[in-house]
């Protein structure tokens, strides 16, 4: 069996790892990967919360004293997964168009290109 708080420790680890990638990485695709890891950690948090030890799936069996897990958190996460997929889709399509426009996916190269263009416009 998994000892008590193992899931929560994993949630915290993934959450921090994902957020770190979002902040530190300069590659636009890697940032989206980081965002996904960050979001998945929250899904795990919710589902772990709803799990009752020894509980089964919440389908009425007719047997008395059955222990059920809380289905609501899983249902909420179904919605959150959809939101996550949509965010990833928008993010990736923006990335494609950024690559078409700039020819690179590195944040510092994009910034450089913008600065050069701005300097040219002001000159």
């Amino acid at each position: 069996m998994i000892p008590g708080l193992f899931n929560y420790w994993m949630v915290v680890f993934l959450m921090m790892a994902g957020l770190y990638v979002v902040i530190v990485r300069g590659n636009l695709i890697k940032k989206i990967v980081g965002l996904n890891i960050f979001q998945v950690s929250v899904f795990m948090l919710y589902i772990t919360m709803g799990k009752v030890t020894g509980g089964t799936a919440p389908i009425a069996t007719g047997v008395e004293d059955t222990v059920y897990s809380n289905p609501l958190t899983s249902v909420l996460i179904l919605t959150a997964i959809v939101v996550g997929v949509a965010t990833t889709a928008v993010g990736l399509s923006l990335t494609v168009r950024i690559h078409e426009a700039y020819g690179t996916l590195e944040e510092d190269e994009i910034r450089e290109a913008d600065e050069i263009r701005e300097a040219e416009e002001n000159a």
């Binding site: 965002l35 948090l45 919360m49 939101v83 965010t87 928008v90 913008d114």
Partner: protein, 493 residues
């Protein structure tokens, strides 16, 4: 029958109109549909506000399931007031959009543009009306995702990177909010805001609660663009299509501010928020810093859309200042500034859209001699600018009046002085434009320009005229804002 279901219709109408735009496949019919939807929504929220003022808060149960199991829509003076702001801005901006959109966005994308605009509108209204904490997250993401795509439709290729940056910060903020809601659910087993507030009120303060509060406040702070979480805002406002800037500048931050007020006053209650979490002690310095940094940076901008964007950072500071003063007068100032800032910033960004349409640029050099070349448009800028400064007889004065009174009431003299001093900074950045527009000659080789079309001037002047009207007849707005502030401070939903 229809009368009973107004709260649901308010959200469902724009939600249904969006896919219909996709089916229409043409710009003009989509524009007509969007405009009609906005006007209907305005009528509905006007009716709801009247009903709430006459008969007290409304609770609407989605599908007839009792809360806290079912999702309920709760309307009181506070969100009815903010809904009126959002629908009023939409009713002015949507009819205004046509010419500007035709100029800035390729014809094949017009119907998609209006669909995204309507989805954003749906999300904003949903966030305001719902009484369910998780539902807020869903609507928040609907509004945000459509805003990212709207921002990316800007003409410059920097619109893409701005939208990407906005997406990263926005999605992080949304996820923070989700974590906060999850932690609250693990504490109480409830998602209904009123029910959560009851259960949290009975509980001893514990670490989960503190963590939840921090995540929620930071997540909402990111969406609200509270200094120093504002870094997505200037780029997004600058490079988005002009109409989108006018719409989101006047609505999105207002709705986020409403969420922050709901979180601190209704969900957590003033006791928890301020006695245990010291939210006021954190927000007050951030608000003051935001006001000064935003205004100072605005002075040095050459792109006027960017200048107004930084001014928005400062104006958000004023709203947050009102919230952190902890008295009814201050909060009234913050809430009345929601309405006032929506009017003046919406109006000013609409002026920018008019200039963009005729000149193709909003660089300060393009404004040389514009006072004579586009007199009606520039007059709107002057009036809006005066309001931003806070000159008497404009709405800006009303908000500052309440904020300064609130600061004095709270015994914070330096804050009152700071709020007044910061107005001087606004004088500098607005005057700079007026000087260029009225006291400098247009370059010799400048091509003659027409005044902006009437379809754009009329909505612009409606917004700008309203800043003067509500600056003189202050009773309506300040009255409702005071009522809302009392409802929030009283702790009741």
């Amino acid at each position: 029958m229809i009368g009973d279901n107004l709260p649901a219709l308010l959200v469902i109408l724009p939600l249904l109109a969006a896919p219909i735009c996709l089916l229409l496949r043409r710009g003009t019919p989509s524009w007509v549909l969007a405009t009609l939807t906005a006007w209907t929504a305005l009528a509905i929220s006007w009716t709801l506000l009247g009903e709430v003022q006459a008969n007290g808060p409304i609770e609407y149960q989605m599908g007839g399931f009792d809360p806290p199991w079912g999702i309920s829509y709760n309307i009181d003076v506070v969100n009815a007031y903010v809904m009126l702001i959002v629908t009023a801005v939409a009713s002015a901006v949507f009819p205004f959009a046509r010419e500007s959109v035709e100029d800035e966005i390729p014809a094949s994308k017009h119907h998609l543009f209006y669909a995204a605009l309507l989805l954003c509108f749906t999300g904003l209204l949903g966030m305001l009306i719902t009484g369910d904490a998780f539902n807020v997250f869903v609507f928040l993401e609907i509004a945000s995702l459509s805003t990212y795509s709207l921002v990316s439709m800007g003409r410059s290729k920097r619109a893409l990177t701005s939208a990407y940056q906005y997406l990263m910060m926005g999605a992080t903020g949304g996820t923070f909010y989700l974590i906060g809601v999850g932690l609250l659910y693990s504490l109480t087993g409830s998602l209904n805001i009123a029910d959560l507030a009851d259960k949290l009120g009975d509980m001893e303060t514990n670490r989960t609660m503190i963590a939840a509060f921090c995540f929620l406040a930071t997540g909402i702070g990111l969406k609200l663009a509270v200094f120093p979480l504002h870094s997505w805002l200037p780029n997004a406002y600058t490079f988005a299509p002009s109409v989108v800037t006018a719409f989101i500048a006047a609505t999105f931050t207002k709705v986020s501010f409403y969420l922050l007020a709901r979180l601190t006053f209704t969900l957590m209650g003033p006791d928890l928020s301020f006695e245990h979490f010291y939210l006021d002690k954190i927000l007050l310095p951030l608000a003051i810093a935001g006001i000064f940094v935003g205004s100072l940076v605005a002075i040095f901008q050459t792109n006027l859309k960017r200048m107004l964007a930084f001014s928005s950072v400062a104006q958000i500071g004023y709203m947050v200042l009102g919230l952190s003063l902890l008295n009814v007068t201050g909060l009234t100032g913050g809430l009345v500034h929601l309405f006032n800032h929506a009017l003046m910033k919406g109006g000013l960004f609409m002026v920018m859209a008019c200039v963009m349409l005729r000149l193709g640029s909003v660089h300060i050099d393009a404004f040389k001699g514009l006072g004579r070349r586009m007199p009606i448009t520039m007059a709107a800028f002057v009036v809006g600018g005066l309001s931003l400064i806070g000159v008497p007889l404009t709405v800006g004065f009303v908000s500052k009046w309440y904020l300064v009174l609130g600061a004095i009431e709270a015994g914070l003299w330096p804050v009152a002085v700071a709020a007044l001093l910061s107005s001087l900074l606004a004088v500098v950045y607005i005057w700079r434009v007026i000087e260029v527009a009225y006291f400098e000659e247009a370059p010799e080789d400048a091509e003659p320009v027409d005044e902006a079309p009437w379809s754009m001037l009329i909505p612009t002047w409606l917004m700008i005229g309203a800043t003067v009207y509500f600056g003189i007849f202050t009773d309506t707005t300040a009255g409702i804002a005071a009522e809302a502030a009392k409802a929030l401070m009283g702790g009741g939903a």
